[in-house]
């Protein structure tokens, strides 16, 4: 019987062993316990919905007593948007392209062909790359033709795709240039830096819905604060909301007001991180402001700049709140963005078209992001 007795030391040893094994187990499990929840949440709420959405894009969804009934309809949703009854809404109304339009398009095509031939003659060409570039050029040419046919012609009318592209390109360009200019001014040795940093950040923090209302109040030519100016220049009876271009301008101004701070803050930090020695050496050598910017500052901030532009490009495509608040996408569909367009399908319970439109939008965003990263960004960063 004595052999079965456990001495106190042995008991301590056993307890220690168990504790060690628990510790070891928790150590091993920590690796998964910490990461998996995040992965699962993203999988469940991003990847699965994305796949289901792809299925819905080829289906008609009806609600019968609350339960969704999903019927496969093939490519009907896409056909409706691209060539069918909703083509006008999505792509716009095409006018007859005038000679100037053709000239623009030919210049664009010539440039594309030139770049393509250059790629074929370069040493890093590959069959895969050549095929991908053909696809990219055809897609880009189609987008260019679409913009020319809806924007430069008399009878043309842009659809939601072109309107969104205008918001994205004009908005992001203006935000970058304004943000860069302001950051260059603030980065000098001037008193009041902190004040400007805080004040310039404010617009970004405001809800886009609030910015929409602010823009509407300020754009009021009768009761708004700028009314005396409008009256003085004879535009007292003019209303921004009546014309398509006027309405688009107000949406763009609101968007630029809101997002210039983002560019400003980021570029300011990038400028403050540039090396001072080179700048000081250049100053001693008597370099002008312009040449200093071109040859010393710009190369250093270009990598950050291209990233910032990419972030804003992607984010800007998601615009919905401001056009919706300002004029509900109107007049007509003049300020209707793609997300707002998809929301309208959803609101009329046409979930299939909503998903199809979302996928077309995703294709355009991906196309622009990939082309941007592979051509503009790589070239700019490499060549400097």
């Amino acid at each position: 019987m004595e052999t079965a007795q456990i001495t106190p030391q042995e008991r301590v040893q056993t307890v220690k062993n168990v504790a060690e094994r628990v510790a070891q187990w928790s150590e091993d499990s920590a690796k998964n316990v910490l990461l998996l929840p995040a992965i699962l949440v993203v999988l469940l709420l991003s990847i699965f919905p994305l796949l289901v959405s792809l299925y819905l894009a080829f289906a008609r969804v009806e609600f019968q007593r609350g339960a969704p009934v999903i019927t496969w309809v093939g490519t009907a949703n896409f056909a409706k948007l691209l060539i069918g009854s909703e083509q006008r809404h999505f792509l716009g109304r095409f006018g007859d392209i005038n000679p100037i339009g053709w000239a623009i398009f030919l210049a664009f095509a010539a440039f594309m062909i030139f770049m393509y031939v250059r790629y074929l003659l370069s040493p890093r060409r590959s069959l895969f790359g050549a095929i991908l570039r053909i696809v990219a050029i055809v897609f880009g040419g189609a987008l260019a033709l679409l913009m020319i046919a809806t924007l430069t012609t008399e009878t043309g009318l842009p659809g939601t795709l072109v309107v969104t592209l205008i918001f994205v390109f004009v908005g992001v360009t203006a935000q970058y240039l304004l943000g860069l200019g302001l950051a260059l001014l603030v980065t000098q040795n001037i008193p009041g830096k902190r004040f400007f940093r805080v004040v310039f950040l404010l617009p970004m923090m405001i809800t886009p819905v609030g910015v929409g209302f602010l823009a509407r109040m300020l754009a009021d030519t009768v009761k708004g604060p700028l009314a005396p100016i409008w009256q003085a220049i004879g535009l007292g009876a003019f209303s921004w909301g009546d014309s398509a271009s006027g309405a688009r301008t107000v949406v763009l101004l609101g968007d630029i007001w809101q997002w210039t701070p983002f560019m400003f803050i980021m570029l300011l930090a990038a400028l403050e991180a540039t090396s001072r020695e080179q700048i000081e050496a250049a100053l001693v050598d008597g370099a002008t402001r312009l040449s200093m910017f071109r040859y010393i500052i710009l190369p250093q901030i270009l990598p950050v700049s291209t990233t910032l532009v990419l972030i804003r490009l992607i984010e800007a495509f998601k615009i919905i709140d401001m056009p919706n608040i300002l004029l509900g996408g109107g007049p007509g569909t003049a300020t209707e963005s793609l997300t707002l367009h998809a929301y309208k399908y959803w609101a009329s319970l046409d979930l299939g078209s909503s998903a199809a439109l979302a996928y077309l939008m995703l294709a355009v965003v991906t196309y622009i992001a990939v082309v941007y990263v592979n051509s503009v960004r790589r070239r700019l960063v490499e060549n400097l």
């Binding site: 995040a38 969704p68 004040v199 923090m205 819905v209 109040m217 992001a369």
Partner: protein, 343 residues
């Protein structure tokens, strides 16, 4: 006159350039602040003051009144419409940011301290099996059965063929995969999410909003905090390990206290995102869980532009954010920067 553009010290801007700089900066300050000033004074105007053309200065041009505030906050006829969305916004914002921070901090820490080797072959098989399940549902098999078949095929393939492929990916790939979810326009995922929440009878509840906000903001948290954890010296944890601390003790006692500034900054940034969020709330809420951006937006359709009321609502909505922005400007700028510069 010439001297005006020459600085005494070559590194300081010359007085003339300085004046030019201040002129431009002053104009932009005005552009930033004037709309906010106009918003604030409009909130204290009576309808007559708004409708009779622009009035600029309180006590000079018009008498400030609390009429709109009283109507929205104290008048029973307006149904006290503000308090509920306000509580919703605060509650959903705080809870979703907290959960996103919790999950995201764990993932960010794990990505900086452990080596993961996910296998592309396994992932491809997984995607294939999801496709299979969807296909099965499409041809009319009940979804629980389809999911089980998909899972079974996945495990089977993983144990047999999956082991033959050796290629692996690294932590950076996981990080990039997470942040790439921000690229998706929310509209591409919202319709299925809406259907699921509808089936779970969770539409128009805090739960639906919190879950979808956590998913939307989690990638940002991981991205911001990964950089932060990387800069916390790993030697501290190594010495704690020698002293016999477990992984969780290390995180709790050493890493978290050091990461507090980063955690606060990240929390605030995603709180602002959740506070301002419009698209998801537009799809997922109706009246019960309506948030402030939607309440403000709805003023457009239902009442026409009653600027005095809208201004009060916008002031209420943005006041906490403005205060936070002024106090925490440095934090916010830095947090955003980490995310952008690494991307």
């Amino acid at each position: 006159m010439r001297n005006l553009f020459k600085a005494r010290n070559p590194f300081d801007p010359s007085p003339g350039w300085m004046g030019f700089s201040y002129l431009i900066l002053g104009i932009w300050t005005l552009i930033c602040l004037f709309p906010l000033y106009w918003l604030l004074i409009t909130a204290f105007k009576t309808p007559a003051d708004v409708n009779n053309g622009p009035r600029y200065l309180p006590f000079v041009d018009f008498q400030p009144s609390l009429q709109a505030w009283q109507f929205l906050l104290a008048d029973p006829t307006s149904g006290n419409m503000v308090s509920r969305p306000y509580i919703n916004t605060i509650g959903v914002g705080l809870l979703s940011s907290l959960f996103a921070l919790l999950l995201g901090a764990g993932a960010a820490y794990a990505l900086t301290r452990f080596q993961y080797r996910p296998q592309p072959a396994a992932i491809a098989t997984f995607a294939l099996c999801i496709g299979l399940a969807i296909l099965l549902i499409a041809i009319g098999i009940a979804w629980p059965l389809a999911v089980i078949i998909g899972l079974a095929v996945f495990i089977l393939l993983l144990q047999t063929i999956g082991r033959r492929f050796k290629g692996t990916m690294s932590n950076n790939d996981i990080g990039f995969w997470l942040i790439s979810q921000r690229m998706l326009p929310p509209i591409t995922t919202i319709v299925p999410i809406y259907i699921v929440f509808q089936q779970l009878r969770m539409l128009d509840t805090w739960g639906a909003l919190i879950i979808s906000y956590v998913a939307a903001h989690l990638p940002l948290v991981v991205w911001f905090l990964r950089d932060y954890f990387q800069n916390i010296p790993i030697e501290l944890e190594e010495s704690a390990f020698i002293d016999g601390a477990s992984r969780y003790q290390m995180i709790w006692r050493i890493v978290l206290p050091l990461a507090v500034p980063g955690l606060i900054a990240t929390f605030l940034i995603i709180l602002v995102f959740a506070w301002n969020e419009y698209t998801l709330a537009l799809f997922l809420t109706n009246a019960n869980a309506q948030t402030m951006p939607l309440l403000v937006a709805s003023q457009n359709a239902t009442r026409g532009p009653q600027w005095w009321n809208i201004s009060v609502l916008v002031v209420l909505m943005i006041a906490p954010i403005i205060v936070a922005a002024i106090v925490l400007e440095r934090f916010i700028a830095r947090g955003l920067l980490v995310g952008a510069l690494k991307g």
